[in-house]
């Protein structure tokens, strides 16, 4: 997991995004423990208060749950909820790209072409649709 302290996106939201992405990617699976506050704070070099806020957020949305004295676990429906939220992260990234295109004076058609070719680069040409 990593964070960017120069971004305008609050660090606690970045941490929440990283944990969601790790769950969506199957790094942490339902019923498994996620890194403790202490481990993540030291690992990411951020104030434990900030990690706590990220974990509070994830607990509220049902991605993780805490067991007193034992730690934080990925919830059964955690992976599904992570996928849903990943959509938010993706659309934030697109927003930024679209604004960038608009600032450069690009047309909708041009932007569409940029999008399609980005998709082709990662997903292939469509003959083996994922």
């Amino acid at each position: 997991m990593r964070i960017d302290p120069r971004s305008h996106v609050p660090i606690y939201l970045q941490i929440a995004d990283e944990v969601r992405a790790a769950v969506a990617a199957g790094i942490y699976r339902p019923g498994e423990v996620i890194p403790s506050l202490r481990v993540l704070a030291i690992d990411l070099q951020v104030n434990p208060n900030t990690v706590q806020r990220a974990y509070d957020e994830l607990e509220r949305e049902g991605l993780i749950y805490s067991q007193r004295g034992k730690g934080l676990y990925v919830a059964e429906q955690g992976a599904a909820s992570a996928h849903r939220r990943a959509l938010d992260t993706v659309s934030r990234a697109f927003d930024q790209g679209v604004r960038c295109a608009q600032a450069a004076g690009m047309s909708r058609t041009q932007l569409d072409e940029v999008f399609q070719s980005a998709v082709r680069r990662t997903y292939g040409d469509g003959s083996q649709q994922a």
Partner: protein, 308 residues
């Protein structure tokens, strides 16, 4: 007010003022740091950060106002404040001829029963400090780490760090941060630290205070400050600057047809206002990181100083 109240702030500056001859180093500064939270103090050189910290530590006395730590005035009872605070000063004043182990022994005897040998040993191990080494032979990084060890081994509830990481190489910086974070995870201290590195503020602080020429320009939650301060980029048809700017503009610059404005308390209506001005071709709103927010606020103050 009771000194044991749970809701009383850990650090409280009240109308703090310090004059050095004709210079007003700290100008009527008031702010609070709630218990368990971390405040990052930033500002250009000479803004009054170190003076504020030295008053808070009872090293300097203020011209007016008060600085209180856990309810105790640093002006009236500096000794008690020092006992309850872990302080890493900007310049280390550790006896250079002593060995690391001797310095630790000296501080242990000063703090007596509040000294926590377990904390001391674990930090000594974490930092791989050699007790037999003479202080004068320590690198800058090692010296700051020793200073942190001495600052936290009496289990203080408040940490005050004055530009602790300036001049450290990236590895020493990371190790120092590690030491601070470990103790924060264990004891949840209140922290006030000053720095020139905005990345460190983002990583470590809950709230930020921007000082400029001794005055407090901004004090508050970092996310809120960043979320509500935006850059508006305007393309002007003929390159002449409109004579109106939206309320809350802290800085603006015209460069040919491009007009940049940094606006606090941003709302979409402010961009609409700019769009409605004559001769405006295009308006775009740009998100800023803390570093740009800080720079624009300070640069705006400098420009104001020139105009006045």
């Amino acid at each position: 007010m009771s000194t044991s109240s749970c809701c009383e702030p850990a650090i409280e500056l009240v109308g703090l003022t310090k004059r050095f001859g004709a210079t007003l180093a700290v100008d009527n500064l008031s702010l609070e740091v709630p218990r368990g939270s971390t405040l990052g103090l930033i500002g250009p050189n000479g803004a009054g950060k170190t003076t504020t910290i030295r008053i808070l530590m009872g090293v300097l006395s203020p011209t007016a106002g008060d600085a209180r730590v856990l309810g105790t005035s640093a002006v009236a009872d500096p000794t008690r404040v020092k006992q309850r605070v872990g302080y890493v000063p900007e310049v280390q004043h550790i006896y250079r001829w002593m060995r690391v182990g001797q310095v630790i022994g000296f501080c242990r005897s000063l703090y007596q029963e509040s000294w926590n040998e377990e904390t001391c040993r674990s930090v000594l191990d974490l930092f791989a400090l050699d007790p037999h080494k003479k202080v004068k032979h320590l690198s800058k990084g090692m010296l700051v780490k020793l200073s942190l060890l001495l600052a936290i081994s009496h289990d203080p509830d408040v940490l005050v760090l004055d530009e602790p990481m300036s001049g450290l190489d990236p590895i020493a910086r990371e190790e120092f941060l590690d030491g601070v974070l470990r103790t924060l995870c264990e004891r949840g201290q209140t922290v006030l630290f000053s720095t020139h590195t905005l990345d460190d503020v983002q990583r470590m602080a809950d709230t930020v205070a921007i000082l400029y020429e001794g005055r407090l320009l901004v004090h508050g939650n970092i996310e809120q400050l960043v979320a509500t301060t935006k850059r508006i980029r305007v393309v002007l048809a003929n390159g002449s600057r409109p004579d109106q700017v939206p309320a809350g503009t802290v800085w603006d610059r015209l460069d040919g047809r491009e007009w940049l404005l940094t606006v606090r308390d941003f709302a979409p209506e402010k961009a609409q206002q700019v769009r409605a001005l004559g001769g405006v071709d295009h308006v775009e709103v740009i998100d800023l990181g803390l570093e740009d927010v800080f720079k624009d606020i300070v640069k705006g103050q400098r420009l104001k100083g020139v105009v006045q």
